[in-house]
């Protein structure tokens, strides 16, 4: 029996104490009542209209910001990898993506309030120069659309960072081979490029989804607690037991793990598939 595993004992102990056990505590707690006995009632209680609505708007924001993040990220990545742009543009774009994908949280909310808020720069320019009052047209930064617009600031750069290696792997020869066989541009994308790229596209989507689903700080700094998305509801619950049922709080957190777990499970599975192509 080798004792070599003792070398990573500190790491195992650390992850047990500060990652695994705290998470297990939440998972177990969501299946217990206040006396500690097993129950499913916490999970059942999640299915009340106000909590379902919170999950639904969270999932919608995450889906929308992940989808748009992927789409815009793909178009931009395609533009500087394959679109014939000069080579110098690549490095600053990637550096900026590294910065912007980490510029989340409270300051991001401030930046968007200063830009798209009621007296923000873009709001005022549109109003004074073009006569368009976006707030009269129903735009509100503290809403589904506003939050999605804000989240794109870190979602798009993250998509660019993940997709660049995948698009770098697209060989020029494939396009030429398809052209020689008489394929049009649309046919090339539909029958060659897209089938190769779709696992990494969907994988990026899953990662972006989990990324925005767990985000608290931006939304909290932007909306306070006026927009009831799951992370903000959980934040309020941990601070002040707003649901008046501690174990329902556990179940709320457990639901978040389930959703991000599914998203990441899809990501891991698809990444394993997509990497078969990148030799």
């Amino acid at each position: 029996m080798s004792l070599a595993w003792l070398g990573i004992l500190p790491f195992l102990l650390f992850s047990l104490l500060f990652l695994i056990l705290p998470t297990m505590k939440i998972v177990v707690g969501s299946f217990q009542d206040s006396t500690g006995a097993f129950t499913l009632s916490n999970i059942v209680n999640l299915f009340q209209p106000s909590i379902l609505a919170a999950y639904w708007i969270s999932i919608r924001i995450s889906l929308a910001s992940a989808f748009l993040g992927c789409l815009i990220g793909f178009l931009v990545t395609w533009a500087f990898v394959l679109g014939g742009l000069p080579g110098w543009i690549r490095s600053p774009l990637l550096t900026f993506s590294g910065v912007a994908s980490n510029f989340a949280g409270v300051p991001l909310a401030f930046a968007f309030l200063a830009t798209f808020g009621r007296v923000g720069l873009v709001t005022l320019i549109l109003r004074d120069w073009f006569g368009i009052n976006i707030y009269a047209l129903g735009f509100n930064l503290l809403s589904f659309g506003g939050l999605t617009l804000t989240y794109l600031f870190f979602q798009v750069p993250l998509a660019i960072l993940i997709m660049t290696p995948a698009l770098d792997g697209m060989r020029r020869e494939w396009r030429e081979a398809a052209a020689i066989l008489g394929a049009s541009g649309v046919q090339y994308w539909r029958m060659v490029a897209f089938p190769i790229l779709w696992p990494s596209l969907l994988g990026t989507f899953a990662l972006l989804f989990a990324n925005s689903f767990g985000a608290v700080a931006t939304a909290y700094a932007l909306t306070g607690s006026s927009l009831s998305i799951v992370p903000i509801l959980l934040f309020a619950q941990i601070r002040g037991d707003v649901l008046q049922d501690p174990h329902l709080g556990y179940a709320l957190a457990f639901g978040m793990i389930v959703v991000t777990g599914i998203a990441n499970g899809i990501y891991i599975w698809l990444r394993a598939r997509s990497e078969r192509w990148i030799k």
Partner: protein
Amino acid sequence: MKTNRIWSWLFVALAVLYFVLPLIGTLEFSMKMRRGTYSFDAYAAVLSDPRFQQTFTFSVLMALATIVVGVLLVVPTAYWVRLKLPQWRPFVEFITLLPLVIPPIVIVFGYIRLYNTSSWLPLTGSAMGTNILLMFGYVVLALPFMYRAVDTGLRAIDVRTMTEAAQSLGAGWVTILARIILPNVAVAVLSGAFLTFAIVIGEFVMAALLSRPAFGPYMQLLGANRAYEPAALAVIAFGITWLCMGLIQLVSRFSRIPNAGH
């Protein structure tokens, strides 16, 4: 190909517009504190606020402690897994990726329930204990980035040969780690460290829920009560993030390992 290039420029130009507008908007807004003219009053107000200085110092110290503990934890582990436990690799990697799956708010919720004053390890009972708990929380948040950076760095060197050479010269494990392995993955460690710094300095959820006087909760509080100072803070925070990423680029340029950070 000509039309292709026009589309490419269009996409990039639109993206640049989307990303530059909030930065200009924030900068412009942060300088409007004095009526009718541009000034740096908001910056002066922020920088002279004693709570800014306190919380910022707290978060800087927190980030440095996180980096030290993170390096001490990750470098020996990644080294040992490469040298002796290759069969454990998928398992260890899986654990280091878990913080990307489990939202930070859930992890800190678990801390509050697990380490409260009536538990076996009452870390939240004292200010120092809570600080340590928060620091461990940050190490967990940094784990995916730190581990990947160090592991990529280790891939570029011949760990086994270096270890055997050092051993045959009589070096012990501590000497090998501190004087052979660490200097050879210094670039990767620095990349991970700057990324960790950028994450920790503005972190909000964990600090707020553990009630620590950190920079993130301070920013949030200021945002709820003031108009122009938050914009100034956003500019400062963006500058710090930019500085960290710039330093990653800079140290990466001195190494053979391309892109150790991501």
